[in-house]
């Protein structure tokens, strides 16, 4: 068997999740060097042609280069600029292209570093495939196909993604999650039956049914995604590409039709100056940074240990208007603990505790164990013959669990309504004081569990729910962002109402069944809202597929992971709130830089138009007092080039995000990036002009 060291994730967030937001991972060795090389590789016209704005700059660079080689090539006028000016302009345009390529290459390089780490888990592994006659054959992992069964023992690598068919084992998943503590995997469990190729069994053994063909596994998909191999433009990127192409087209036609007008007003314009004018007019800043912003958005999601199946999913997060959240594990701590026993129908607390102890005997959930512990604390241990009894597992449909004794006696605990139904079905009656006990627990925000022995109800167990710290503030933030939160819970309406009020969610669905999830999502979508949800079980898969953003837990089933468009490697449902924030930040960053790019063109007009048409009466537009027409053109072009690398950190890191409404965001965007985009170039171009004049470059 192959023994590999798990890869070290350079950007694996450490420590408490709420303290590692936007953690910058350390720079990988050679990342900048590779990005520089890639900047030149991306000058290939086949690659540049994917970006219309930068392709126009690329064509303009060819024209100025040709004019550098032969300054009279395109010029009839004797006042054409000399070779030196043309060469400087060519260099500046080339730098503009290289800076834009560098931004994209840098963003891609960060993803590739993670892909390399993942690839190390993919070394070929030998697997013991189970043959139809029950014997085993040693085969290469690449020969395994969907449906094959393999046996994996302690110390061996799991050869491919699959579902546990038999056995219980601890699995080290640090290769994909970075979490060093092994997780328990067993057959038939929604949360623990799915295994990932490249992880290692550290105790016992498992029989696994392979669920993915070679190259189609979870890690293969992750590699393809982080490398950008499956990256396709998102709807917003496509819309922005069209807008940029339209603007470029308009300015190309305007500039191309300018020479006859210029000749008519006796201000002949050299071709290289027309190229400079065109490049100044088209939105090169956003054109150069657009793909880097998108790639960096995926990267920021990955920094949170979340793998998105597409950029579209990340972007959709920014448009989310409704969050559908499970109460348990998301809003409240997953482990509800038994707080007290409330006997009803004349029974004593001890009788209730003893019955609850027996009803919870086979319950391995934290809640079940806490009931057993509380009963033992009260010295109320059952004396019933549990060695011959069998357990009944809880199901979301019946909403009860319990113990069946060998002599036919049935002990049950579960939702109060479910227990009432169970007792009535066996000819029993409901004690008059049950509802009072139920309401008392519910009003405290606890979960009441009724306990019965055959047709007789003994009382209620108070399961205490604890709301996670900081949830109210997070829901307040979401509300300010215009996002509505809906809590789904199997609890009764009173408990759900108390928890919802305390946590600050906007709405709740009580006594929800798995089918309610998809119904809630569809109802929200019918109102034109975009919905995000988390899930981990097979019964969550339809709702995950229906939601606009479905986040599956990595500990969840294969079905849930395949239905979702994001997988959270840390299996933390509250992360959905962070993901929405990242999506918003991606959209805001793109909007901010587009605003800045279009606004900063204005200053360039004031630099280049007086330079072109000074003789025709536009000299008063030289507000910046630029030294000469040629210096003005060069200064505008140098600013145009330098602003791209200056904005690369912002494009990669994202604009600082403050939860606020769309109107507030728009106002802030216009004020900071619109006004800033107007003012900064005036200052920048003037300073560059002073430097160009001082250096006597023209």
């Amino acid at each position: 068997m192959t023994t590999l060291q798990p890869p070290i994730f350079p950007r694996m967030p450490r420590g408490r999740r709420d303290q590692r937001r936007y953690t910058e991972r350390p720079r990988s060795d050679g990342l900048l060097g590779r990005a520089v090389v890639q900047s030149f590789v991306k000058l290939d016209p086949r690659l540049t042609a994917r970006n219309p704005v930068m392709f126009v700059v690329w064509c303009g660079t060819l024209v100025t280069l040709a004019a550098t080689l032969e300054p009279r090539l395109f010029e009839l006028s004797p006042e054409a600029p000399g070779r030196g000016f043309n060469a400087l302009l060519s260099l500046i345009l080339l730098a503009t292209l290289l800076f834009a390529n560098f931004a994209e290459a840098l963003a891609e390089g960060r993803g590739k570093a993670q892909a390399d780490a993942l690839r190390r888990t993919q070394a070929s592994t030998q697997a013991r495939r189970l043959l139809p006659d029950g014997s085993e054959a040693l085969v290469d992992s690449s020969a395994l196909r969907r449906g094959d069964q393999v046996r994996v023992s302690q110390g061996e690598m799991i050869p491919a993604d699959g579902e546990v068919v038999d056995g219980v084992a601890a699995v080290d998943e640090s290769a994909i999650t970075g979490e060093s503590a092994p997780v328990l995997k067993e057959a038939g469990s929604d949360g623990a039956s799915s295994v990932t190729g490249g992880t290692r069994v550290v105790s016992d053994k498992l029989l696994i049914r392979i669920t993915a063909d070679p190259g189609k596994g979870f890690i293969d998909r992750m590699i393809a995604l982080v490398e950008g191999a499956e990256r396709s433009k998102t709807p917003n990127e496509i819309a922005l590409t069209v807008l940029l192409a339209v603007l470029t087209q308009v300015f190309l036609i305007a500039v191309a039709t300018l020479p006859p007008v210029a000749a008519y007003i006796n201000s002949p314009t050299p071709v290289v100056v027309l190229v400079a004018l065109l490049v100044a007019l088209i939105p090169t800043t956003i054109g150069g940074l657009l793909s880097a912003i998108g790639i960096a958005g995926m990267d920021r999601v990955a920094q949170f240990n979340v793998i998105a199946t597409s950029g579209r999913a990340v972007e959709a997060c920014g448009d989310i208007t409704t969050l559908v959240l499970d109460k348990t594990g998301t809003i409240t701590l997953g482990n509800r603990l038994a707080e007290e026993f409330l006997p009803v129908g004349g029974h004593s607390e001890r009788e209730l505790a003893t019955t609850a102890h027996a009803a919870s005997w086979f319950d391995t959930t934290p809640e079940g164990k806490s009931i057993v512990r509380l009963a033992e604390k009260l010295d109320a241990v059952t004396a019933l013959p549990m060695d011959t009894a069998t357990g009944l597992e809880f199901s979301a449909r019946t909403r009860l669990s319990g113990t069946d004794l060998a002599d036919g006696n049935e002990l049950r605990k579960g939702a109060v309504e479910a227990i009432k139904g169970f007792v009535r079905s066996r000819g029993g009656t409901v004690p008059a004081d049950l509802d009072a006990a139920y309401e008392r627990v519910s009003r405290l925000g606890g979960t009441p569990l009724a306990v019965c022995w055959n047709a007789e109800i003994f009382g209620v167990i108070h399961l205490k729910d604890i709301i996670k710290p900081g949830m109210r503030e997070r829901f307040d933030q979401l509300r300010r962002m215009g996002i509505r939160s809906v809590m789904l819970t199997g609890d009764n309406a009173i408990t759900a109402g108390v928890i919802a009020r305390e946590a600050g969610v906007d709405d709740f669905i009580a006594e929800a069944t798995p089918e309610d999830k998809i119904a809630v999502i569809q109802a929200e979508q019918r109102l034109g809202r975009l919905v995000a949800m988390t899930g981990d079980g097979t019964n969550d898969a339809p709702a995950l597929a229906q939601a606009n953003v479905g986040v599956a837990m990595n500990s969840g089933t294969q079905a849930a992971k395949e239905a979702a468009n994001m997988v959270d490697l840390d299996s933390d449902p509250t992360k959905l709130i962070d993901i929405v924030t990242i999506g918003k930040q991606l959209l805001i960053t793109r909007g901010a830089l587009t605003t800045f790019s279009i606004a900063n063109d204005v200053a360039k007009y004031f630099a280049i138009l007086p330079a072109l048409f000074g003789k025709a009466g536009l000299a008063p537009l030289n507000l910046m007092g630029l030294a000469s027409p040629q210096s003005a053109i060069l200064s505008a072009m140098v600013f145009n080039a330098l602003i791209i690398p200056a904005l690369v950190p912002l494009a990669l890191k994202g604009v600082a995000f403050r939860p606020s409404t769309a109107d507030q965001l728009l106002r802030r965007n216009l004020l900071v990036y619109g006004l800033g985009g107007l003012v900064v170039p005036f200052i920048g171009i003037k300073l560059i002009d002073l430097a160009v004049s001082a250096l006597r470059l023209v």
Partner: protein, 66 residues
């Protein structure tokens, strides 16, 4: 190996073809230039601008291809 239909759908197949054809067709418009090199260069510039404009129209109407 790229199929012929795949090749025909690539903009970088049509761009040089358009440039060459455009230059040949537009060159007579600049016959008054001082040198044949300049008349060809201006014809190339004109056809290049037209081809570039055509490319931008393709981007506008089929943005997902880029």
């Amino acid at each position: 190996m790229a199929s012929s239909s795949g090749l025909l759908s690539k903009p970088l197949f049509w761009l040089p073809l358009g440039l060459v054809l455009g230059t040949v067709l537009a060159a007579p418009l600049f016959s008054s230039s001082p040198s044949p090199l300049q008349s060809n260069a201006l014809a190339l510039l004109l056809s290049g601008t037209v081809v570039l404009s055509g490319y931008l129209f393709v981007v506008i109407f089929q943005p997902e291809r880029f």
